[in-house]
């Protein structure tokens, strides 16, 4: 097996006295599509937020593409990472948020083109072309000059996906991308994600409540409970023959 692109090694995350992630060991192979499911408060979103460097960790080591994410090597020892290291590591990851978090004061086109232009240093023309191409891919070529509030939730989330992809990340994190959507708008977003899942080299980590979708697109499903990975397996195994009692209970409740 190839080296994992993501490796959690005894990772601990606490909010005060509350332990959200409890000595988690977890790996993802390059190009793998992994879905994380679990009850709320199980720490599944926290895993993504830690990877996106939105939350610090209190223990353990995370490695992304062979390099420690929250640490850097200095004088032969692992030290907490400085901002420059974090910024470099962040480039490899893209994130899609439950609440879309589009920039309301920018047009759709600018939402997507802004970061490539300002952060990656692409020329305006290059950034614009890249954004147009991605917006075409998510089916929004007719809405590029609109502002986010003029779009439906499903359209907004598709912009969110295009915006994250514009940075050309190796790993895409989806944090409950359809949970804030009206039911009739979920399909269009899932279609876009499904198409992305066909790309072999893109690693995807998806937190979702859409069990049927998880089953379709993922190579592996992980069930989280109380900050630990309770069970993992191929979707057909985990959904049809869950081994753990907690998994069975959860699946019975949501399916």
């Amino acid at each position: 097996m190839t080296d994992p692109i993501i490796r959690f090694d005894k990772v601990v995350k606490r909010y005060g006295a509350l332990t959200v992630i409890d000595e988690l060991d977890f790996t993802v192979a390059p190009g793998e599509k992994v879905t994380i499911i679990g009850p709320s408060g199980s720490g599944k979103s926290t895993v993504l937020r830690i990877l996106m460097t939105l939350e610090r960790i209190q223990g353990g080591v995370i490695t992304v593409a062979g390099e420690p994410l929250w640490h850097e090597e200095r004088n032969g020892a692992l030290q907490p990472a400085g901002e420059a290291h974090l910024r470099k590591m962040r480039r490899q990851l893209g994130m899609v948020f439950q609440q879309f978090n589009l920039f309301p004061h920018m047009t759709v086109l600018r939402n997507v083109a802004e970061a490539p232009c300002q952060v990656l240093g692409l020329s305006r023309q290059e950034a614009r072309e890249r954004a147009e191409e991605l917006l075409k891919m998510v089916g929004l070529e007719d809405h590029m000059q609109k502002f986010p509030h003029q779009l439906s939730g499903g359209q907004q989330q598709r912009v969110g996906i295009a915006r994250a992809l514009a940075m050309r990340p190796r790993i895409m994190l989806f944090d409950e991308p359809t949970s804030a959507l009206d039911p009739e708008l979920v399909g269009e977003v899932l279609t876009v994600i499904r198409r992305l899942a066909e790309a072999h080299d893109l690693t995807m980590l998806l937190v979702t409540h859409e069990m049927r979708f998880a089953r379709e697109v993922s190579d592996r499903v992980c069930f989280f409970d109380r900050g630990r990975m309770c069970e993992e397996g191929k979707p057909e195994d985990l959904f049809t023959h869950p081994k753990e009692l907690r998994t069975r209970e959860f699946l019975k409740a949501v399916l």
Partner: protein
């Protein structure tokens, strides 16, 4: 006589009022200039204070907090006297108008800093997180994402402070700035009629305040609530 214009005390109150109106208007212009100058100083200094106060390093944030508290908790008159008389002892001699505008700006910068902070905190956390995920630097996140969304939220509060500043301008008369109230007082001193000039100052202030409030409202309605559009 003032500003080379004289007044008419021979033909009744109305004629007197009409004759001093242009003189008071000269004072009003100074009042408006001082308000705007003080406002601009407060806008800039307030933003600087906001940024420093929220600095991650306590070495920066603590002094900024102390300075802002000091600006806010000492009377305008004390600050004004300090700038005008104490600095002069150390060789820093500022013209009266500049001193006044600075004192107003310094005093109000502390209030502005609070307004900015509230406006910035009102921007949803997800905006910061999205910028973070796109690897924006802290500075760019502030200038491109947070500030354009905070500004429309704080315009009404800033407008109120502009009105407040204009009402504090008469304090500058103690360091000889010829703003409207000072002009009215000089006219009163010389004609022994205070009623007419002071009443006119009150009326002119009312008009000034109503107009500036209307302008601020118009601006508030015009600005898109989602933030200053960046196309």
């Amino acid at each position: 006589m003032l500003f080379g214009m004289s007044w008419d005390t021979q033909h009744g109150e109305l004629a007197f009022a009409i004759s001093i109106l242009p003189i008071l208007l000269r004072g009003l212009i100074v009042t408006i200039e001082a308000s705007l100058a003080g406002f601009v100083v407060a806008l800039v200094l307030g933003l600087i204070l906001t940024v420093l106060k929220s600095a991650r390093s306590r070495l920066i944030s603590w002094p900024a907090i102390v300075v802002a508290e000091f600006f806010r908790d000492t009377p305008l008159l004390v600050q004004l006297f300090f700038l005008y008389y104490v600095l002069a002892d150390y060789g820093v001699i500022l013209p009266a108008f500049l001193t006044g505008a600075l004192a107003l700006g310094v005093q109000y910068s502390a209030y502005m800093a609070e307004v900015y902070r509230a406006g910035i905190e009102a921007v949803p956390r997800g905006q910061r997180e999205a910028a973070h995920a796109l690897d924006f630097s802290g500075r760019r996140t502030f200038t491109h994402i947070i500030l354009p969304q905070a500004i429309p939220r704080i315009v009404p509060a800033l407008g109120n402070y502009l009105v407040s500043i204009s009402k504090d301008v008469p304090v500058l008369s103690v360091v000889t700035v010829l703003e409207m109230l000072n002009v009215a007082k000089i006219i009163g001193d010389q004609t022994f009629d205070y009623l007419v000039p002071l009443t006119m100052v009150g009326a002119l202030y009312l008009i000034l305040t109503l107009i500036s409030s209307a302008l601020v409202n118009a601006l508030d309605v015009r600005l898109p609530k989602t933030g200053l559009p960046l196309r």
